[in-house]
């Protein structure tokens, strides 16, 4: 392990490398997500090393276990490769996955720009877009739920949420960074799901574009809840395992915070009691 390994949080990286080429690479990697968890690979602490020599980039990463699913490991490696290559000054990128059952296979495949199928040969019988799509659609549902719960907790009514148009979402005033962030993340993925998202279209729709209805809204929210709980739980497991495996303090969950109206009311009541 290298000396950079301990510096996995976004903040410390920005502080150390600001203005350097390494910093630019870290920033580009921050936009790469674990497809299953819908969280940034840098926030999760997966990326251990970034080094730059002139126009060549080296990226080292590791995962919570030796047995983490090979398809997600490949997707992250290939997405990181693509993200770094997109920087204008970069001419070559080497991505290295450490201590994984398919380390060698994946590292070789990425180095040779092989597709998933060609990387795994007989062990695959097609590309991974179906798995990618499935988890991307779960990410849509999760981001949507988080934003809707955030709004509900701040006195938006179900009626107003169901009726909200894209242009209205764009100009919604948010009182804190959290709202800005949730909204930006949702708007990004809304372009991929739920049909047209021109300014006149509804902001909150089902995956297939069907409009939400006031009388079935609570039920819909519960459906989304199941997806989000599963993803959050997996994120918690991954963070705990990574910390235990590599002896780091756990990377903080910067990506997902849930607004529970009832919980917040409870906390507000508790704090009143305390005064």
């Amino acid at each position: 392990m290298t000396s950079q390994a301990a510096m996995t949080s976004d903040e410390s990286l920005s502080a150390v490398f600001e203005g350097t080429k390494e910093h630019e690479v870290w920033e580009s990697l921050a936009a790469v997500t674990d497809p299953e968890l819908d969280e940034s690979v840098t926030a999760l602490g997966f990326v251990t090393t970034v080094s730059v020599k002139e126009r060549a980039v080296f990226i080292g990463f590791h995962l919570p276990t030796y047995w983490c699913a090979a398809n997600f490991a490949y997707m992250m490696a290939s997405d990181m490769h693509r993200a770094a290559m997109a920087l204008p000054w970069v001419t070559s990128v080497c991505v290295e996955l450490d201590e994984h059952m398919y380390s060698e296979t994946i590292n070789r495949g990425i180095a040779a720009s092989l597709s998933f199928q060609d990387t795994f040969g007989d062990e695959a019988n097609g590309e991974i877009h179906l798995v990618r799509d499935k988890f991307r659609s779960k990410a849509f549902q999760q981001r949507q739920e988080l934003l809707m719960r955030y709004l509900l907790a701040r006195h938006h009514t179900v009626e107003s949420i169901v009726a909200l148009r894209m242009f209205q979402l764009d100009v919604l005033p948010f009182e804190d960074d959290e709202g800005q962030r949730l909204s930006a993340r949702y708007r990004e993925i809304r372009q991929e799901f739920g049909g047209a998202c021109e300014s006149d279209n509804f902001a909150f729709v089902r995956l297939d574009g069907v409009q939400l209805a006031v009388d079935t809204f609570d039920q819909y929210l519960l459906e989304l809840r199941s997806v989000r709980i599963n993803t959050q739980f997996n994120g918690e497991i991954c963070r705990g395992l990574l910390a235990a495996r590599y002896g780091q303090s756990e990377a903080s969950p910067t990506e997902v915070r849930v607004a529970f109206p009832a919980l917040e009311e409870q906390q507000a009541r508790d704090s009143l009691k305390g005064t």
């Binding site: 047995w67 090979a70 059952m101 695959a124 019988n125 199941s226 918690e236 705990g240 009832a262």
Partner: protein, 340 residues
């Protein structure tokens, strides 16, 4: 036995335990090392710090240690032992049915020892099921679909060869199939943790019970959708339960989902010993209250009666355990042991 503050006795059947040998001497290759290292990472990540074992003890522990952790220092009354072979990783296997019987021989009434089969053995798998039934009178099977075997990196419950095994189990009255999903089913382009094969098998074998270990994690949401439709699908809570210590709110969310979809009659406690010891998990579970907001939103409750079902009554129903009779027998044996 767990006794509540009001003196009520709760009979505890630990639905998921192991007696493994993952020592260096038994490891065949790097995968054997990485397999137990991964278990140890789960153990150390989710146990309270004072419950963490040294790595060498974790790799191989004695029958006495296990008995004491479960029944003397721990609250278990009975434990279900799952056999897992992994012979491509461990020279003598990870925990075979023979090794498990050897461990349990002094306390046979404490243990239910399940077998294992691998449908990739073809006719060999059928012969092995006969052998386990005749030799050990097994009532349950642990199925580890992600086990590596030669060039194969796993199998599915709806493979035709698996169906032949289920038909035979049905015929022989081996009812309980404990399914564990692992990470490396081929083809790799598909979701390795996909649980939909459980749906097929559970629909086609209505006489069998499918206990999905680790409640389908990391595909809890998919598992819930399957379990809600199939009354013979159960959720084993091993791995989910330790979160009660480190992340109680996540645990509350999970248990609320499971109570809603899978139901209070279809959930089984499991410590996953030796990954975790049952004492602290049961203590925390008994003291646990579902936060009001979660209970309200999901419309479920976690009462003492429901806890009692999860901790023992549901497993007793699956394995035809007469709890009052068993209690009496175990107490009598304890008295004899004390007198000696």
């Amino acid at each position: 036995m767990y006794r509540t503050d009001s003196g009520k006795e709760i009979f505890i059947i630990d639905g998921h335990t192991h007696f493994w040998d993952a020592s260096k001497e038994n490891q065949k290759n790097i995968h054997g090392k990485q397999f137990i290292d991964c278990f140890y990472v789960y153990h150390s990540a989710l146990s309270p710090p004072e419950e963490v074992w040294p790595a060498d003890k974790f790799a191989k522990y004695s029958a006495k240690t296990m008995y004491e952790d479960l029944f003397v220092n721990g609250p278990d009354d009975m434990a279900i032992i799952q056999s897992t072979y992994l012979k491509d990783f461990y020279k003598q296997g990870f925990n075979t049915i023979e090794r498990n019987h050897e461990m349990a021989k002094e306390h046979p009434d404490r243990f239910i020892i399940n077998g294992a089969f691998d449908p990739r053995d073809g006719k060999g798998a059928l012969d092995y099921i006969h052998y386990m039934k005749e030799t050990f009178d097994i009532q349950g099977i642990k199925l580890y679909t992600a086990e590596w075997r030669g060039d194969s990196k796993g199998w599915k419950l709806n493979d035709p060869a698996a169906y032949e095994c289920f038909e035979l189990c049905d015929k022989l009255g081996i009812k309980n199939m404990h399914v564990h999903k692992g990470p490396t089913i081929i083809p790799l382009n598909k979701d390795a943790f996909d649980v939909h094969d459980v749906d097929y098998a559970a629909t086609d074998f209505q006489n069998l019970n499918f206990i999905v270990e680790h409640v389908g994690l990391p595909r809890l949401d998919d598992f819930c959708w399957i379990a809600v439709q199939e009354s013979n699908v159960y959720g084993g809570l091993a791995v989910a339960m330790p979160f009660i210590h480190s992340r109680p709110r996540y645990f509350a969310e999970i248990i609320a989902e499971l109570l809603f979809y899978v139901g209070e009659d279809n959930l089984l406690f499991g410590s996953d010993y030796a990954i975790w010891t049952p004492k602290w998990i049961v203590d925390k579970f008994m003291a646990f209250e579902l936060p009001e907001d979660i209970a309200k939103e999901r419309g479920v409750e976690l009462t003492m009666d429901i806890k009692e079902k999860i901790l023992g009554l549901n497993a007793a129903a699956l394995y035809d355990i007469d709890i009052p009779a068993r209690k009496k027998k175990l107490k009598a044996q304890e008295r004899v042991a004390e007198a000696v």
